[in-house]
Amino acid sequence: MEARIASKGHLCPLALQSTPSSPRRRSTHAPSPRLRADPGSSSAAMQFFGGSSLTSVAPDATPAPAAPPGTGTGANAQVLYVFNRNGVCLLYREWHRPLRTLDPTQDHKLMFGLLFSLRSFTAKIDPTTAEKRNLGVPLLPGQGCSFYSFKTNTYKLNFMESPSGIKLILITHPRTGDQRDSLKHIYNLYVEYVVKNPLYAPGTPIKCELFNKHLDQYMQVALH
């Protein structure tokens, strides 16, 4: 059973970067996350990056695309995704996003695929555990190691997954610190104002005014 390499079909976005023959061409439009294995080079890049554009961008709150697509200005992106265990994007909310290059459905799907793959890869190459599954074979929640952020030169992706498969993704400026507490707080807001809302039908997009209000308030304080 395990040999039925789920990876071929399941490891969508990351896997297909290395298989040009894949029919899923559109993913090449995705901003390819450059995972930095070496913390040294990462921080060097951060400094370079920070000096060049951070100050000029930070106070600018308008979402106008200032730079040509693809150059990555490193603007202060602030975007939140919430997925449930079935890959349904329950919430997409942006407070600041310099560019939109993909249609929303594609964007959500790629994001979910990225996390799904990344989780599988990080568990597979974990040098501290012996117990490993074949790459792409789905993991149980809480199984294997878990990652909680990665950085590129233009953004940082912060990630939290509950054992019930709720995935929270917060995209921030690459220089923001550890966001695990923020994500936990957002999870609590989700529980309070979405899950306990008697008029919310589970598995449907979140349209709870009370949740959005608290979320906006929190984000204003948390990331400024």
Partner: protein, 207 residues
């Protein structure tokens, strides 16, 4: 590996959450059960008039009726409540069934109902066990009338457990073994792990 923040104890957990009078909970549950019974009776009347009594009833009892039974309500509650539990308890992984059963008994019941359950009667494979409850806030003021002797009043609880476990990838079967409303000496639920279902990549290759 221990999780970064250790899970709270059952008592600490119950003390940390907002609470309400158990009677509001119990009486509301009673009102729900009463509403379900009324609705079902009405439907049977309709069935009689349509003169398809037997078939319609069988279909009803196999399909729709299940949707309206307290068990189904419980299942829905379980699928929601699991997130509340995870958010407040600091439990960060539920991979092992035995460990999970313990967590439910010591923390889960306590956090929501203020009571603890005992986990007992494990089978040799470690895939089924019993939860025994001595105190059950659902049943205060309840006595099953003669017409409802077939009613599994506490099915809400078994549904909750089934629903919550399904959200952490454990497919289970939950059945009542002992029920004080039927004259037994305690409340005992048998929970059997059918399989653990990992999260699948939800999209098809070509979407």
């Amino acid at each position: 590996m221990p999780p970064p923040t250790a899970p709270k104890s059952g008592d600490a957990l119950f003390a940390s959450v907002d609470r309400v009078n158990a009677e509001l909970f119990t009486l509301t549950y009673g009102a729900i059960v009463r509403q379900l019974l009324t609705d079902l009776e009405e439907v049977e009347e309709v069935n009689k008039q349509l003169d398809q009594i037997r078939d319609a009833r069988v279909e009803y009892s196999n399909g729709l009726a299940d949707l309206r039974s307290p068990k189904f309500l419980g299942y829905n509650i379980g699928t929601r409540l699991v997130d509340e539990f995870l958010a407040k308890s600091n439990v960060s992984r539920c991979v092992d069934f035995k460990e999970t059963a313990d967590v439910i008994a010591k923390l889960g019941f306590k956090m929501f109902l203020g009571v603890t359950a005992t986990v007992t009667n494990w089978d040799a494979e470690g895939t089924s066990c019993s939860f025994v409850l001595e105190d059950n806030p659902l049943v205060d003021f309840v006595e099953l009338p003669d017409t409802c002797q077939g009613l599994q009043y506490c099915n809400l609880l078994s549904g909750v457990i089934r629903g919550a476990l399904e959200m952490v990838s454990m497919k289970t079967e939950v059945t009542w073994v002992r029920d004080m409303l039927r004259g037994d000496d305690a409340y005992e639920m048998r929970v059997k792990l059918i399989k653990q279902v990992p999260e699948e990549y939800p999209y098809k290759d070509d979407d």
